[in-house]
Amino acid sequence: MKPSRPLFASLLLCLLEIGCATPERPDPWEPMNRKIFAFNETVDRYALEPVAKAWDFVLPDFAETGLDNFFNNLQMPTVFANDLLQWKPKAAFYDVLRLLYNTTFGLGGFIDIATMVEIPESDEDFGQTLGVWGVPSGPYLVMPLLGPYTIRSGFGQIVDATAASYAYTTPFWFGVAGLNGAETAGASIGQKGLELLNLRAIYLEDIAENRKEAFDYYVFIRNAYLQNRRARVLDQTATAVTEEEDLYYLDDEDGSADDEEEDYDDL
């Protein structure tokens, strides 16, 4: 398929001048994004979800959690690097501690001992680091098979994944196993795939419910993703740090005095 020229042009324009995605208009590529989203939904319905259901049926819950812990533990070196890049030395220290605890006492990361002994957990990636450095998030982008991103978070993930694959695969594990470059790449895709499948299995019910209850599932996901990303960059997942300044303002503020008395709750 020939890449469409308007799409390419708008991509280029937006990369050059990221200002085209604003808080009021975070999704300038909505028509394209919706198509990719629909494609991903179809793939999920016919491939990922059924496999995840089988996975969930075979594996007991504690095994899924254990596997999830294992993958999270693998992330720790990149979390550590990003804590340093954002100059959070205390958090970086805890990252090292977590990695040590979980890798040893936690049997290779399957048991999250670090949380049990209350070592604070931080969640940083290179996309967030870029955000802390003042790089704007850029437009919302739905990637085929991979789902929602912003330009910034997508770029960040490429950097994180590359760094992690250098740290893990090249010098050590796959060298020992005698794999070549292509096989190494295949293995790391396989690892990501397994991680995704396991996560999908953990959230089977939640995703099914959200899908059913949403008024517009595309908008539901977009809003939740962008809010959550923003809160994580600011390290403020504990409160509402909305970009919509009017979110908590009542539109009839200037209205008559009895507005406050207006009440329909008891109907």
Binding site: A238, A240, Y248, Y249
Partner: protein
């Protein structure tokens, strides 16, 4: 002029240094007063959330009871602690003004059902979790955020903030923010999308439809 422009850093520093005493004074006087006020204002909403969380956890813990009964009890609590009128105004934003009294009443009723059904069905699955209230924060418009954390279960460590507003002398929840995702903002964006391509009657019809489906499934499951 020129010499000043050549040492912008120095100028900045000097300006900053000059401000320091004033700043220190402000901190010294304003901070303790403010935090004392913080504590007393936030105390009531904090207690409300703590007590409600305890109540709900104890209801969920009665696993031997049929889930219908437990969900109904939780719904009763939700009816009491959420300010559905304010939430409806917030999620509809500019569109609220366009509605007459009867449509407003209809919307609040459907939204109330939607929220309690949605969260009723969900809560039913969770019974190993505890809720830890660990802080409060004063927000603009005299609102208060109560910060909580889930302990145990699948969502261990998840942060949930409740935003409360005092109206008619009662503190009630006007938003739930899960890991930085505001429920009000999320519904607002979805409703805006529906209203973009349709009328308020279309939206109301959709809401009725959803509420009906959720009810149906609950009866089937029960």
């Amino acid at each position: 002029m020129i010499s000043e422009a050549r040492f912008p850093l120095f100028r900045l520093r000097r300006g900053f240094v000059a401000l320091l005493p004033a700043f220190a004074m402000l901190c010294g006087i304003a901070l303790p007063v403010r935090s004392a006020e913080d504590a007393s204002i936030a105390e009531e909403p904090r207690k409300l959330i703590e007590e409600t969380a305890d109540q709900i956890v104890s209801i969920l813990a009665r696993v031997d009871q049929p889930s219908e009964i437990r969900v109904r009890e939780i719904e009763e609590i939700a009816y009491d602690i959420f300010d559905f009128t304010t939430m409806s105004k917030l999620v509809l934003a500019r569109n609220w003004r366009k509605l007459d009294k009867s449509k407003r009443a209809e919307f609040v009723r459907e939204f109330k059902r939607l929220l309690s059904r949605t969260y009723g069905t969900r809560l039913d699955r969770y019974n190993q979790e505890k809720v830890e209230v660990y802080g409060t924060q004063l927000e603009p418009r005299n609102d208060v955020s109560v910060k909580t954390r889930i302990v145990g279960g699948q969502f261990d460590g998840a942060e949930i903030a409740y935003r409360l507003r005092k109206r008619k002398d009662r503190w009630r929840i006007i938003d739930v923010v899960i890991e930085g995702v505001s429920l009000v903002s999320n519904y607002r964006s979805q409703f805006a999308e529906v209203l973009n391509g349709g009328t308020i009657d279309d939206l109301l019809a959709k809401m009725r439809d959803k509420n009906f489906t959720i009810d149906e499934e609950k009866t089937e499951a029960g």
